[in-house]
């Protein structure tokens, strides 16, 4: 019986080691893939219409969800913020609260999560399906580099769209906070904006938010393109890849947020 449990434990270790091995291999492949994308990015910019098409599909078509979500979150921030601040007689700081929460954290993070689930998954699906129907192989056989032609433009489309979407999210969110705070509840409009302008520093808060969204955009785009390219060329394979894109993107965003926040807002 002891031998049985011993074997079972060994089996577990072997399985865990195997999975770790697989994970490391995938990570290594993904890193090489990332550098290949950068290497073959020349075409994405020389034939910029390829990238423009991708910016349309990831960025423009995500506008609706970003704007609506931003508005709602801004409004909720306004409500919750007011409820807490007015207890300490500081309801005029509502503007600062809403603006800082959005530009520093919620703007980059939430819009990146939304981007991953909307645009990231569609990028993975597109590339995965092209792989499953042998279109990528056909391209390779026709001496057209699929990474340069299909993968890189989608990557750059995501990287360019993300900061713009995050800025839009924050801006609309601030407006939402204004709607609730000033228009609905009655916080003083002048105090709202002036305290906000006094409390939000461009270089520190807004620029850091932009840098964050740029980093998130890169992470989500790489994960989305990689999962599509690496998909098993069957229906289940593609759907598994899409699931992985959304999950890994979300984890990456939150982990990177932790790292970046600790760098940027140290000791404040």
């Amino acid at each position: 019986m002891l031998k049985g449990t011993f074997c079972a434990v060994l089996e577990l270790i072997r399985a865990a080691g195997h999975r770790m091995n697989n994970a490391l291999q995938t990570l290594g492949f993904a890193t090489r893939f990332f550098f290949q994308i950068l290497l073959y990015s020349g075409q994405s910019f020389r034939r910029f219409h390829l990238t423009i098409r991708e910016i349309y599909f990831c960025g423009f078509q995500s506008l609706l969800i970003i704007v609506v979500s931003g508005l709602f979150i801004g409004m909720v921030l306004g409500m919750q913020g007011y409820e807490t601040l007015q207890r300490y007689g500081s309801s005029e700081a509502l503007g600062v609260l809403v603006a800082l929460s959005l530009t520093r954290e919620l703007g980059p993070v939430v819009s990146a999560l939304l981007f991953a689930s909307r645009a990231g998954s569609s990028i993975t699906a597109e590339i995965g399906l092209m792989k499953a129907t042998e279109q990528l192989t056909a391209m390779d056989m026709m001496a057209v580099n699929p990474i340069a032609r299909v993968v890189a433009p989608r990557f750059w489309g995501g990287v360019i769209s993300m900061p713009l979407l995050a800025a839009l999210f924050s801006a609309v969110g601030v407006f939402g906070g204004y709607l609730i705070g000033v228009v609905l509840i009655g916080v003083d409009e002048g105090a709202f904006w002036s305290q906000m302008q006094g409390g939000v520093d461009f270089r520190f808060d807004i620029w850091n938010g932009i840098v964050k969204s740029f980093v998130f955009g890169t992470a989500v785009s790489v994960i989305a393109v990689f999962e599509g390219y690496d998909a098993v060329p069957t229906a289940e394979g593609v759907s598994g890849s899409i699931k992985r894109t959304v999950v890994y993107s979300a984890l990456a965003i939150l982990a990177l947020d932790l790292v970046l926040t600790s760098f940027m807002f140290r000791g404040v």
Partner: protein, 156 residues
């Protein structure tokens, strides 16, 4: 989707995105009260800086004229050394008072400059001659109680 239409919508998207960034920068942040102007450095020594932080404002007559860029501890004199960058447009006399004040009752702390009457101005790299440290609440209370204690016997 024709290429022209695609370009149109993407251009629209990018324009809207940039407008959002601009909005955030100008209306939400304080970019317009720019920190990009020419500045020169001045230093001040304090016994206690209280809650003053790097990036805190330097104001004179309530108007922001500069920023705190560095706060150091001087191990020789056991004083705090505050380095600030002042907007080059503004010159201050050599006997200007630099004090650490609080904005509002519970607000953040800043350096207030009280201009003196000296004809000679502070040059880049100079040190403020006169400073007033931050008010520490405990010292204030103990001072008050000491005053109260020394008062009572006299008023008998």
């Amino acid at each position: 989707m024709s290429r022209k239409l695609l370009d149109l919508w993407v251009g629209f998207f990018v324009a809207v995105g940039f407008a959002a960034v601009l909005f955030l920068a100008l209306r939400v942040g304080n970019l317009s009260s720019a920190n990009f102007a020419e500045t020169y450095q001045l230093t001040a020594k304090f016994d206690n800086i209280g809650g003053l932080k790097v990036r805190g404002p330097v104001k004179s007559a309530g108007v922001v004229v500069g920023r705190v860029v560095d706060i150091r501890f001087d191990p020789q004199s056991y004083e705090a050394l505050v380095v600030m960058m002042i907007d080059s447009r503004y010159q201050f006399p050599k006997d200007t008072f630099a004090s650490i004040l609080t904005a509002g009752l519970l607000g953040e702390q800043y350096i207030g400059l009280d201009a003196g009457g000296d004809e000679k101005m502070l040059k880049p790299g100079d040190v403020f001659a006169k400073t007033q440290s931050a008010v520490v609440l405990e010292k204030l209370i103990s001072q008050f109680m000491f005053n109260k204690a020394s008062e009572t016997p006299e008023n008998k």
